[in-house]
């Protein structure tokens, strides 16, 4: 049996762990740059605030109902997520880190009759031990576990754990699930299925296997088989090394100054390079891009990217910044107000598989040692303790996070105070 365990309104719940005055009140968390709602408490959902609703569209509701608004505190959410996954692994030997607030658990070999009790204990441990309410769906396949999880969340009677362990329950669950809510069936296929009169997951499961394969490829067929109870999607517990690493952000405000954008893209390059070194890889080329704000139709628009090839694959922040900076010079045009920029490291290879270059002028050993010191210092004393001067202070371009909560769990000066 497989289980899907996820935190209910995870980001909101993280805020509530350390501020109980938010309990029972409408709370939302905004995306980067405080743009739109990415997490909503049940009370906020009840007010009609939709997922990804633009902050400006819901400002009236926020004021009228005194909705509590937070910026994304990724430091806090990431720490709480690590705690969640760690605690889950005490209850299951194989945990797949599926997203920041979700994990698949493989309960193969466990006594199925005891599984509900086991998962209730697990849900209690997370609720009490970390303070986050979770829902657990248990079934014979991952796709069915996802469906069971929806039921666990929707009906309080399940007490946060729903197990689909008989064919009768499976069919009933499929009949009550809309086809578009099935994991793996996207928007395009949903529309097409609905046109054909296929509205529920059950309708879909009654289609012929041949039809599904013909019209929805083997991917759709796999979902179809999973809904029959045949486990096709295995646990994915090993994260493969990334083939490209992208760091891009919208600026806090529009910028028409090349030097400020240079600070920003250099910072993104550093973040990407640090990820690259963490997975012990090097990159052979780097892409830089630059965009104006497409929503400001009243302003002139410009969007450009460039790929810079580096003679020797590298993971040195200094070297990568040089190429990013040169790339920026080539694509930057005066007279535009820029809203977004980004850096993507590409052609990634293992750091041990670097081809040396005969005209190489860079002391790679020295760079390597310097980067090691940089990474170790920042790991130990916090991000950006040590950084290259070109990065500046970010005052002009940093994302807006006006409603950021303290980093309660990781920063000494932010630890909660007990009266």
């Amino acid at each position: 049996m497989y289980a899907l365990c996820d935190g209910n309104n995870f980001f909101v719940s993280c805020e509530r762990v350390f501020d109980s005055s938010l309990e029972g009140k409408p709370v939302i968390v905004l995306s980067n740059n405080d743009g739109c709602a990415i997490a909503r408490s049940n009370e906020a959902k009840a007010l009609g605030i939709k997922m990804a609703a633009n902050f400006f569209e819901i400002e009236d509701i926020i004021r009228k109902h005194n909705v509590q608004v937070f910026s994304t505190n990724f430091v806090l959410y990431a720490d709480m997520s690590m705690r969640l996954k760690g605690l889950l692994s005490r209850y299951c030997p194989e945990v797949e880190d599926y997203s920041i607030d979700e994990a698949f658990l493989n309960f193969t070999g466990f006594d199925n009759n005891n599984l509900r009790k086991h998962c209730l204990e697990m849900a209690y441990a997370v609720r009490q031990g970390i303070g986050i309410p979770v829902s657990v769906g248990v079934a014979s396949t991952k796709t069915l576990a996802k469906i069971a999880n929806r039921f666990a969340k929707k009906y309080p009677g399940y007490k946060s754990v729903c197990v689909i362990d008989t064919d009768e329950k499976r069919i009933k669950a499929l009949q009550k699930t809309e086809v578009g809510d099935v994991w793996g069936i996207g928007y395009r296929h949903t529309k097409r299925l609905q046109e054909k009169g296929i509205n529920t997951a059950y309708d879909f499961s009654m289609l012929s296997r041949d039809w599904v394969r013909k019209h929805m490829t083997v991917v759709g067929e796999r979902t179809w088989r999973e809904l029959q109870g045949e486990a096709c999607i295995k646990m994915d517990t090993v994260q493969p090394d990334k083939q490209s690493i992208m760091v891009s952000r919208s600026f806090g405000k529009m910028i028409d100054n090349c030097e400020i954008i240079r600070e920003a893209v250099s910072t993104y390059a550093c973040m990407a390079a640090s990820k690259l070194r963490k997975q012990k890889s090097c990159a052979k080329s780097v892409l830089v891009f630059l965009d104006t704000n497409p929503y400001r139709e009243d302003l002139p628009q410009y969007s450009q990217h460039i790929i810079m090839n580096m003679p020797v694959a590298t993971s040195s922040s200094m070297e990568i910044i040089n190429y990013v900076s040169e790339g920026l010079n080539k694509i930057y045009r005066d007279g535009y107000k820029y809203k977004k920029a980004g850096v993507m490291l590409m052609d990634i290879c293992d750091e041990k598989a670097i081809q040396a270059h005969i005209w190489d002028t860079i002391d790679r050993e020295k760079h390597k040692r310097l980067m090691e010191v940089l990474d170790k210092t920042n790991e130990r004393y916090g991000r950006n303790t040590l950084k290259l001067a070109v990065l500046g202070d970010g005052e002009q371009w940093k994302i807006k996070q006006e409603r950021l909560s303290p980093c309660y769990t990781t920063r000494k000066e932010d630890f909660p105070k007990v009266k």
Binding site: S20, M82, L87, P416
Partner: protein, 147 residues
């Protein structure tokens, strides 16, 4: 004598190469003098994480800000190592979170009720009767003070 010379000849060229080697002082006691039994008992030193954190995922750090447990020697600024998962026990110090504020009290089981005590005469005990819900945030396992 000859055997010594043979041994020297063997040794000298090797010694030339040994400009610097790292010697693991612990794992290879030198045979001269008494071999000490102690080398077999080298440990890793003190790891305060291990010492103070029994349950990594459910342990949080809070800071004392009030004087309600001053009688127990807990003063503002003291670091509280709090486990949220561990079950409360007699005389344990509990953290509560009420209306957005954290407070701490000492737990005492009495005949037909539970008492939450301060160790400062300024504050009266709180009585929790049978059947009333008592929702703790966590249990203080250690207090770290700076002198």
């Amino acid at each position: 004598m000859q055997t010594i010379n043979v041994a020297l000849n063997k040794l000298i060229p090797i010694a030339d190469e040994l400009v610097s080697i790292e010697v693991d002082l612990y794992s290879s006691p030198i045979a001269a003098g008494f071999p000490s039994e102690a080398y077999n008992y080298i440990e890793q030193g003190i790891d305060f994480n291990k010492l103070l954190i029994k349950s990594k995922e459910t342990t949080f750090c809070l800071v004392a800000g009030g004087d309600s447990l001053s009688g127990d020697g807990i003063f503002p600024g003291d670091l509280l190592v709090v486990d949220k998962l561990v079950e409360p026990y007699e005389k344990s110090i509990l953290i509560f979170s009420i209306d957005g504020e954290f407070t701490m009290k000492r737990l005492e089981y009495r005949k037909d009720h539970i008492a939450l005590l301060s160790s400062n005469p300024k504050y009266d005990p709180i009585i929790v009767k049978d059947g009333e819900e008592l929702k703790r945030w966590g249990v203080v396992r250690y207090v770290i003070k700076s002198f």
